[in-house]
Symmetry: C2
Subunit: 458 residues, 2 copies
């Protein structure tokens, strides 16, 4: 009997290679913006550069780190020791007394610790951990070295200072800062073999101490290949100006254009990013932020209950603020590598309860002026629409293991849009009517989803 | 780099073996209960024995059937031709003029059509299609023949008439109807190799024409192995008495003890099974039944709106009836092999809307006597509890890919229990209070789920 096997997806649990992180240089161009700390300890949105590098690796399962230090290493060593405790990973500081020679010399000083494939990273590079996964996938069952490269050279912040790469298909045939014609830019994210150390020794014997010089030796044997990172985020932090730009790019990389509704994309996200930028510097956890957003919604709901135009309008603004803050929990979680399944679950449950509170508040405010039972029927009509729009989608995901047919209308019945509609309604003193309209659209959306789901499965 | 591969799960799409179904015998013991049709055309809960056998195979992907016929084959051939059209499968009738010799002779007549592994089935055996999946899993990468056996010999309807099996671990070392000491019973469900035909020829040359005689030849080479079916359902239909028992067992096998709440298990299921037994004989589709259950709930909701004890009590009984009918859609779908993802999705969405209608009805009825806004706050409180109890579970399934922590309390906040509670409340003229209590328990259940989920993920 011939039975087709499912595609084997490699898992890296427990067998993920260690990472060598180069953090030995002086980084004097950042002097003045990092409060006199060594460059690896420069804070970027709540975490130091070194902590970001280590946590990015930990996201894909790396548990063993060799951090090469040189300049002001006496400050970095105790920091690494504290980090090792806090992050529950193994961190071995590797001193390179010759760090001034170049980054090749620093990489080489990790050689005694490494006997199989390893990640090689620059501590001053921010990047999307998904790039490490690309390297792991590419590196499976090969003995080549791999470099993650960016073909979108136009988006590189300081192209003059970047290391350029010339490619023949995925084989690296040229590398260096001075190339004028090139295919991509070196992101400084490598999956290497111990053969790199031999190449660095050869370069060293010729008096060349840069990492690129070692790679030049390796590419002679065509053993160095490139993985293209596509649209994924990376950023080389060198100067105060690039640090500001790096923060903006990192925040921008948190957007979820596929998931976000229109209001979220153009109003809430730009504002929530600024709030997240402040929140990451506080010890408030992502779940704490979810609770704050929920509390703000409850305050808005109570303000609606008071009735009268002033309270109603203010309540509208408050629930919109809650909706904006609602984006921060996920952003802070991703910025601080604190994303959790529980967090996502907790947030969606709180959102539905916040919706309930808002519907009750708006309806109660309306009922004060119009004391008919029909007001409450409308409330239940809208509330069922709001909760069921989410529920119907979730049921679809469970049953079909794919996203429900959405389209433009699917984006219109998302939470960001309905809260925004009620806020607009509140400003013109028609929050109840706006809520009914949003509820009506939600029920239509549920009906469309059922029709599309039915067609899709025939 | 050593990378652990995920366990390879075999998929059988497109490579599922064909099935040989033996339907040649006279089955004279069933005369009188099947309206004079040949045994393979005996209807069991809406489908003939032959159709059930073919649809059970189709569930696991079998698309090619060889049906061996003999007794009154002129009636069966046109039926098979119609079935082939209707079920979109390939059905080849195989005439065995010597069908009176024995079932070994019938099996042998399929030999010219078979060149690789194949399922071998008796058309008068009802069984859970999961047994075929067990055989497929066992049969992957082996050249042995496999027989599904039942070790629960005490549950076999007519043990005297059953074929007994003696096992040495999973190797069959003895088989026959007359064994007095045995380990398991032959279910008549096989995954065979063409070597079976050689064995049947050998037995035939010795004047033995039963399937067991062929197997006896095969077990000499220790090439015949057994798969234990555990608690899975199978039933051999031979006599009018066994036909009645088979129907009951088949209906019983539809229970989902893990999923059903207490009320469903002890009250709704026993009643819904009787209704399903009638519904399978009609052309009403499972989705149609979902709509009928929904319509009954709406009628109950409207009756609640009318107020007064009589209407309230009747409304309680009507919504309980709706809850009972709500179990029939799934039962009929499984009985008629019409289960679909859309059906399950549609049903759960309708259930939530039915809950909404019931809450509105109960609350409106109560509001007629107590016209306070608080009545509607209670309605929204209960409704949010009902919908969110399901929603919270679904979100958990999506995020953790496993069932939420439930336990006893998880069963208490299921729909069957809440509808039953409202019905009891209606009988004592306190439906609103019962609804509030059920809503309160639902919110407590959601809170417990969040706490347990949080603990589970730390």
């Amino acid at each position: 009997m011939h039975i087709a096997a499912k595609k084997v997806v490699p898992t890296f649990m427990g067998t993920v290679p260690p990472a060598v992180i180069l953090a030995a240089g002086e980084g004097n161009r950042l002097n003045g913006v990092n409060g006199g700390s060594p460059k690896p300890l420069t804070p970027v949105l709540g975490l130091t550069l070194l902590e970001r590098a280590i946590l990015s690796c930990k996201e894909v399962g790396v548990m063993e780190f060799y951090v090469v230090i040189g300049y002001r290493s006496h400050i970095i060593v105790p920091y690494l020791s504290a980090l090792e405790q806090r992050l529950s990973v193994l961190i071995q500081p590797v001193e390179n007394p010759n760090w001034r020679e170049g980054n090749g010399s620093s990489a080489l000083s990790a050689a005694p610790y490494i006997s199989s494939s390893f990640f090689l990273l620059m501590c001053d590079h921010l990047f999307d951990p998904a790039i490490l996964r690309l390297l792991l996938t590419a590196g499976t069952n090969t003995t080549d070295c791999w470099l993650a490269v960016d073909r979108h050279t136009e988006r590189v912040f300081d192209l003059d200072d970047a290391t350029k790469v010339i490619l023949n298909r995925d084989v690296i045939v040229g590398i260096g800062k001075e190339k004028t014609s090139f295919d991509a830019v070196d992101t400084g994210i490598f999956l290497c073999q111990p053969s790199l150390f031999d190449a660095l020794e050869v370069a060293k014997d010729m008096g060349r101490h840069s990492l690129s010089a070692g790679i030049v030796e390796l590419i002679k044997g065509r053993e160095f290949r490139a993985v293209t990172i596509g649209e994924r985020f990376w950023f080389d932090v060198d100067t105060p100006k690039s640090l500001g730009s790096a923060k903006r790019s990192l925040l921008q990389s948190l957007s979820k254009p596929d998931e976000d509704g229109f209001v979220s994309r153009y109003l809430n996200r730009p504002l929530s990013r600024r709030i997240s930028e402040i929140l990451v510097r506080t010890p408030i956890s992502p779940n704490g932020i979810s609770l704050i957003s929920f509390a703000v919604a409850i305050i808005g709901a109570i303000m609606f209950c008071l009735g009268g135009y002033i309270w109603t309008m203010l309540a509208g603004l408050v629930i919109q603020l809650s909706s904006i803050v609602d984006g921060c929990d996920g952003e802070v979680a991703r910025l601080k590598f604190q994303s959790s399944k529980f967090g996502g679950w907790f947030d969606t449950i709180l959102d539905r309860y916040a919706d309930t509170a808002i519907v009750v508040g708006v309806s109660f405010g309306y009922w004060l002026a119009h004391p008919h039972a029909a007001v409450w029927l409308g409330a239940i009509f809208a509330l069922t629409g709001f909760i069921m729009a989410s529920y119907t989608k979730k049921e679809f995901v469970i049953r079909y293991q794919s996203n429900p047919p959405g389209g433009l209308f699917g984006k219109l019945i998302k939470r960001d849009v309905r809260i925004f509609a009620i806020m607009l309604g509140a400003i013109v003193n028609l929050p109840y009517e706006a809520m009914l309209l949003a509820g009506f659209l939600s029920h239509i959306g549920i009906g469309l989803m059922l029709i599309k789901g039915h067609r899709q499965t025939i």
